[in-house]
Symmetry: C2
Subunit: 112 residues, 2 copies
Amino acid sequence: MPKYDDELDAVLRALADPTRRAVVERLAKSPAVVSELAAPFSMALPSLMQHLCVLDNAGLVTSQKHGRVRTVSLRPGALDLLHLWLGEQRTPAEHQADQLGIHMTHTTPKET
Amino acid sequence: MPKYDDELDAVLRALADPTRRAVVERLAKSPAVVSELAAPFSMALPSLMQHLCVLDNAGLVTSQKHGRVRTVSLRPGALDLLHLWLGEQRTPAEHQADQLGIHMTHTTPKET
């Protein structure tokens, strides 16, 4: 699945940087304007814009400009591809543990 | 959390390559000897060994040599850090959807 592979490459490479992950962590809470995103980092605005560009190219964020203010959002379902891939890598032992967890949920009396 | 960040950087960089992801996918099923891992790829053994080295340095795989045969395994809990980080990035809308899913599980009569 080369397209899926390319997209996953881009997502993983984009996230393999602590600044870009911090931006994603911030945007998971709510959209933010660029100056607000830049505030926690001691970096020039052009460097932050480059990071945002990498996240945008990987399909992780999207942005809209109203007048002079650019608002950046996490793209809905941005991390779904990575979730999906990770889910597929459950080992047989982990599957067994999952099943046990499901069994426990269905058989343990609810505490009220 | 710089150590957590460094580990996550290494894991994401290691996985941002389709060959290394294919190796992880194979190892999620069961441990494998190096020649078996190399078989699906048209690459020289030293190149595959380099990929395995990157996965090892990221804490994703481990290997044991018995005589001339090296067996590689996925390290237990290898992807937990990434699972954890991804889980923390659920958006408010996704949390709401999760809660709805849990509610449905608890209120929908079980089909037998």
